[in-house]
Structure formats: C-alpha cells, structure tokens
C-alpha cells in the first residue's frame, strides 16, 4: 500500500472516528463519560511528544473536538521533543511549570511518581475505562500502590519478512495459533542464507531495550526481589536471547554482521534491496514499510516469536496528571475522552502501535481491515506484561550505563557471557540500585 493510500486511510480514520466523538454514545465507547461543566472557564495544558504526522493530526482533532464540545474546559497542546521528553518534563516539574496532562511512557513515570510529581489517578479513573484495559497493563503504571498514568498504546518487537523470498524457499509463514519458536526462526534464517544474502538483519546498535523485553520469552527477568532488596541475576533464562542472537551471528552466520551495529531504521535499505530476507524491529517499522518499500515489495509482520511463551515487556505510552495541576478532575475528564475507543484507535493507527484497550483494539481491526499486518499487531497485545525492572528507580541508569555497553560488547564478540554477567550484577550496585 503506497504512502498516499496509507495517508488517506489515516486521515479518513481520524475524520470518521473522531467526528463521532463529540456526541459519543457511552454504550458504544466504554471510556466515555459526560464531563461536568466547571463554574469558571478552565484551560488545561497537554504536553505531548507525538511526532508522527498522523498522530499529531489525531491529537489535534481530539483536542479541537473536545474544545468545541466543552467550551468551559479548553485544552491546549504543548509539543515536547520526543527525544528529550524526560529532560523536558523534569525541568518543568522542578520549575513548577508542568502541564496539567503529561504524555510519557510507563518506564519513565516511575521516577516522577516516586518524586511526587504525578497525581494518584486511582480515585479519578472511570470504572468503564478501568475495565476496558487488562490488569496486566494497569500494573505497568502502578507505583507504590497508586496508579499515576493511564496507559494508551504499546510497542512490540516483531519479525518482518520478505514474503517472496520465503515463498521461493517454500517456507510457510507462522500463524497466531502456531507461531515460530526461536529454534524455528534460527532454522529458517539459516535456510534463507545464501552466498549473497543473509537470513536476517537485526539493528542492534542499542540492544538493551530489545534484549530486556524479549528475554521475557524465557522468563528472563534479570531483577529479583530477595529479602526486600532487588538484585540482578544473570542465569540461564536471562542468557537465552543473547545466546541465540550470538549464535545467529557467529555460529550459523545467518545474521548480517553489518546490521548488528546499525539502528532499526538503518537496516531497511538492505532489507528492501534483498540483502536479508527477514528483519527484527519494533512493530512501528510497519509504517516505514508502507511509506518506503519499493513498489511491489511484499512484506508481512509475523506473530511474536515464542520461547517458553510469547511474553514481552509492556511499556505503554501514558497520560498522567501533574500534582501541580489545579484542575485534576477536568484533566481526567479529557483523558477519559481521549481513551474513547475511536479516539484511541486513531492515535494507535497514527503511531502504528497497539492500543491497550479492548474496545480500541476492535476499532483498529475494523478500520484497517487487518491489512498491513494490523491483525497480527493487535493480536500481540495479550502477550505483553509488566517486567520487574519497569518499577525500579535506578533501572534507567543501569540500562544506559551498564546493560547497553555490556550487551553491545557481547554482541560484538568482545566479551563472553561470564564477563557480561559480572558487569551486569556489579553495575547494579554501582548505580545505587536497591
């Protein structure tokens, strides 16, 4: 599907879905609630890092429809640079100029919650919104027993394939009922490797997020609570994904070594040129497939790889309310409106990510007709769950300063697993993890 058609679908989706939301039928949209009109006009600032054009358009439509329907509660979008969200939010929290509604992700709001910058939303969340999102996802935004963010959309790490190459090799694609295991993935990758082509390309320039998330396939948790203290362990479960990637690269030689040092988007030219038959990346890569793949390039996103399970860590984007906000009730009313099935679906389609609510997932499948692997995308949601590291304050620092360089060195074949394990375990103490 070319860029124009994709853009048209996204625009049409935005127009159709959000046009209905001014007078949404509460029965059809579980997250709807009638906003009480405040006595005096209220202006809410909504700090958002949305950057994809379709998502920005969806946000603008949601806000303009809300403002038209609620003249006494005006929402104003404040754009935040996506690559400096944490720093920008920290500055505004510390400076006392935080927006009322803050757009972030669950892995980041833990620290802000601990510092008291985010309001406890538990008593404010409408019951219908609460029941529309799986408890496992709510767990990712609960810190110290308080819900400090409403989850919105999610990412997974998926395999994308060149269907023609797999068809030529008589390889049958997996299905949701029968996904590929890691062993099968390695076997297919080896089969597809020829003299001038690798089986798979994998942009692992920054491998930490991918490894930590996909390790849940083998119940590799890395962090364990022992006697009230969190410790890092690097046992067989934690080593699985790393060993398998290493094996693809250095034993089977079916993983393109060039891609190991590239970021996700950088491996796409090689994929489109047929240098490798498969790639592994975030599910949002599907958007670039649609926009940039050569005409006639037949691709598909596969169901999540399976180890012991298909579990990956859930790190949803979130909407929180700052404790500095003078209008938390009105802010939650807007958030509930944003989370209506049709609105959230338009945001999810814009970002090519999975909506967390069941109703929005159904809306996405209906609008897209399951095309461009949207059916696979949405079906991945139940496999996502909270990982222990997501609630730990020092995790972000450990991930950046210890895990990232450690994984890079291992995958570059510069250190062995034992050395990596020592680095990871000692590094947790170094960053003051507890």
């Amino acid at each position: 599907m070319n860029k124009q058609i994709r853009a048209s679908i996204a625009t049409l989706a935005v127009a159709i879905l959000t046009a209905a939301c001014g007078s949404a039928n509460p029965a059809a949209s579980p997250a709807a609630s009638v906003a009480a009109t405040p006595a005096t006009p209220v202006t809410l600032q909504f700090a958002s890092f949305a950057w994809q054009k379709a998502t920005v358009d969806a946000h603008n439509k949601i806000v303009s429809d809300w403002n038209a329907a609620h003249p006494n509660i005006t929402v104003k979008i404040v754009t935040v640079d996506v690559n400096s969200v944490h720093d920008k939010l920290l500055t505004t929290f510390q400076g006392g100029t935080a927006a009322d509604i803050v757009h972030d992700e669950s892995a980041d709001i833990g620290g802000f919650s601990g510092q008291g910058f985010l309001a406890d939303l538990t008593p404010l969340i409408p019951a219908e919104l609460k029941s529309d999102i799986p408890q496992g996802i709510w767990d990712t935004v609960t810190f110290g027993g308080k819900i400090t963010g409403v989850p919105t959309i999610l990412q997974t790490y998926s395999v994308f394939v060149n269907k023609k190459m797999l068809g030529d090799a008589n390889i049958t694609l997996p299905t949701a009922a029968s996904p590929w295991t890691w062993d099968k993935f390695a076997e297919v990758s080896k089969q597809l490797t020829t003299g001038d082509r690798f089986g798979v390309g994998w942009g692992l320039k920054s491998p930490a997020a991918t490894v930590m998330s996909m390790s849940l396939n083998f119940n590799g948790l890395f962090f364990y609570n022992e006697g009230g203290k969190n410790v890092v362990k690097f046992g067989p479960a934690e080593q699985q994904v790393l060993k398998r990637i290493y094996s693809l690269a250095y034993t089977d030689k079916s993983l393109s070594p060039t891609t190991l040092g590239q970021s996700g988007p950088e491996i796409l030219p090689g994929f489109f040129a047929g240098k490798y038959a498969m790639i592994v990346g975030g599910n949002y890569v599907a958007q670039q497939m649609v926009e940039q793949a050569p005409a006639g390039f037949d691709w598909a996103m596969l169901p999540l790889l399976k180890g012991d399970t298909q579990a990956q860590s859930a790190n949803p984007q979130t909407l929180s309310i700052s404790t500095q906000s003078k209008n938390p009730k009105e802010a939650m009313q807007f958030i509930a409106y944003y989370m209506q099935a049709n609105n959230l679906a338009s945001v999810a389609i814009g970002d090519w990510l999975i909506p967390v609510s069941t109703s929005a997932g159904k809306a996405v499948t209906t609008i897209t007709g399951g095309k461009n692997s949207w059916d696979v995308n949405v079906a991945s949601a139940p496999s996502l769950k909270i990982a222990p590291f997501q609630t730990l304050d020092a995790y972000a620092q450990w991930k950046t300063q210890i895990a990232q360089p450690g994984f890079q060195q291992y995958l570059a074949n510069k250190i062995d697993l034992a050395t990596l394990g020592t680095q990871l375990i000692d590094g947790w103490t170094k960053v003051g993890g507890k």
């Binding site: 404040v78 505004t92 400076g95 030219p269 949002y284 926009e291």
Partner: protein, 279 residues
C-alpha cells in the same frame, strides 16, 4: 622557465582550491539533493547525488506540517536582537577595558575566561529558575536575555582586541586638534572599529540562529519555537529520521545565514584580518 613554473603552480593551486571547495560544499550539495528525493529513493542501497525522480513533496511537507515561517521569524527576531544588543552593550565596555588599564580589566578578562569554561548543563537549572521568577519563561524576550548574556563575554573579548589595534596616537592627535571625547569616539574610533563590529555582530547572530539547548528548555509554546526546535521535530523516536522534509527545512533554514554572509562578507574579510597585525 620561471613563467612556465608559475603557470603550473597556478594550475595546481586552482586544483587544490577546487578540491577544497568540493570538500566544503559537498554536505550542502548532499542536503540539496536529499531535499528533492522521495521516501523510496532515500532508502536506496546505493545512493546517488542527482535525484532519479526529483520531487517537491518534501518542501510541501516541511511547510505544511511545521510552521517554518513562524519559526524562521522567531529565530530572525532573536538573532538580530542578539546581534544588535550584544554590540551595543559590548562596545563601550570594550573601549573602557582596552583604554583604561585598571585592576578591573584583569578581573573582567579573568571573568570572561572562566565563563567560557562553564558547560551549559551546569547553569541551565538556575537559569530556568531565575527566568521563572521573572515570569520570562516561554517568552522570546526571556530567551533573548539568555542569548545576550551568553554571547557577551566572547564578544567583549573580541571587540577589546580590535580597540587595542587602533593606535592611541590617533586619539591624541584628534584631542590636540580640539576634539572632545565623544567626537573622537564618533568620528575616529567608530569608523575604524566597523570591521570588528561586523564580526562581533555576525558571531552573535550565528550564536542565536543555531542555538538549540536554551531554546529547548526555555520555550514551550509551539508559536514561540525557533528554527532549530522545529527542525528537531523531523527526528522521531528510536532513530527514525524523516530525511526528506528535514533536508528541505534545513535548506530553507540555511538561506538567511547565506544571504547575511553574502551581504557582509567584504567587511567580514577586512574585519577578520584587522586585528591580526600589531603596530
């Protein structure tokens, strides 16, 4: 024999110059080329300098998605304001420092050197809190004050060097002829300082035009965004860069600086050389 050697040397000089120009201008040429390439051509495995299927789509996207005109206007206001204010403040201070050998000169020079050592990240939080107290957050005037303060030390240093290069005897001669201090400053010092003023103004202009970090922290509303902030919005999460629109927007952002340079380049050349020879 000598004539033939000169011609050969001239040819070699031109070849070297052409190579140097190609090396310097290649990034700009590549940016120009990228701005006319569609999304599919941008991921071609073997890139080409000349677009295969040129398109204006990126320019349309750059202007329609981001308010480039408003951002350019904000950047221009800040840069010009910074250039003018910095020169106005630094000029009398530079004259005083250059002409009056007091303990203040040594202290000021020391302050200028020390202030250049401080990294931005150390002062950004106190700066943010000061601006917040003065209700100057998310305002172009607040950011202008920050730029002025940041550009002042180096501009002061530069200008006092140019003042020192003007012989004191000229002022003494004018004084003997009956000219007062103000007349000397207006009729003799200022005209001779013109190249230095141009260089100082250019430095302050470029500092304001390219500055990203202070703008990122101080500004919040989209209508106040400067060009660097707007260009950053073409860089998405996880390394996804919208190269085509970014190249188009960057080219548009480069144009005012190029025009400015073209206008003042004569003064720039003489200004850069003026302070270089003593006596």
């Amino acid at each position: 024999m000598i004539h033939r050697r000169s011609r050969r040397a001239t040819v070699l000089q031109y070849v070297a110059l052409l190579g140097f120009i190609a090396f310097l201008s290649f990034p700009l040429l590549w940016m120009l080329s990228t701005s006319f390439k569609g999304p599919r051509e941008l991921v071609a495995l073997i890139p080409s300098l000349i677009p295969v299927a040129p398109t204006l789509e990126n320019y349309g996207t750059a202007f329609s998605e981001q308010d480039l005109v408003q951002s350019a206007r904000n950047s221009l206001q800040l840069s010009l304001g910074n250039a003018i204010l910095t020169v106005l403040v630094a000029l009398p201070a530079a004259y005083g420092l250059a002409r009056y050998a007091t303990i203040l000169r040594r202290l000021t020079m020391g302050w200028i050197l020390v202030s250049q050592i401080f990294p931005l990240i150390l002062i950004i939080i106190p700066l943010f809190l000061i601006l917040k107290t003065l209700h100057l957050l998310d305002s172009l005037s607040g950011l202008l004050i920050v730029y002025l303060v940041w550009s002042l030390p180096f501009t002061l240093w530069m200008l006092q060097t140019y003042v020192k290069a003007i012989p004191l005897e000229l002022e003494e001669a004018a004084s003997i002829d009956g000219a007062g201090r103000l007349r000397i400053l207006r009729s003799i010092i200022l005209p001779l300082l013109a190249p230095g003023i141009v260089v100082a103004a250019l430095f302050a202009f470029i500092s304001g035009w390219n500055e990203f970090f202070f703008a990122l922290v101080v500004l919040q509303s989209p209508e106040h965004a400067t060009l660097p902030l707007t260009l950053a919005r073409f860089i998405g999460a996880e390394g996804v860069v919208r190269l085509g629109p970014l190249a188009a927007a960057s080219l548009v952002a480069t144009l005012p600086s190029l025009v400015f340079f073209a206008i003042i380049q004569r003064h720039l050349r003489s200004g850069l050389l003026a302070g270089g020879v003593k006596g």
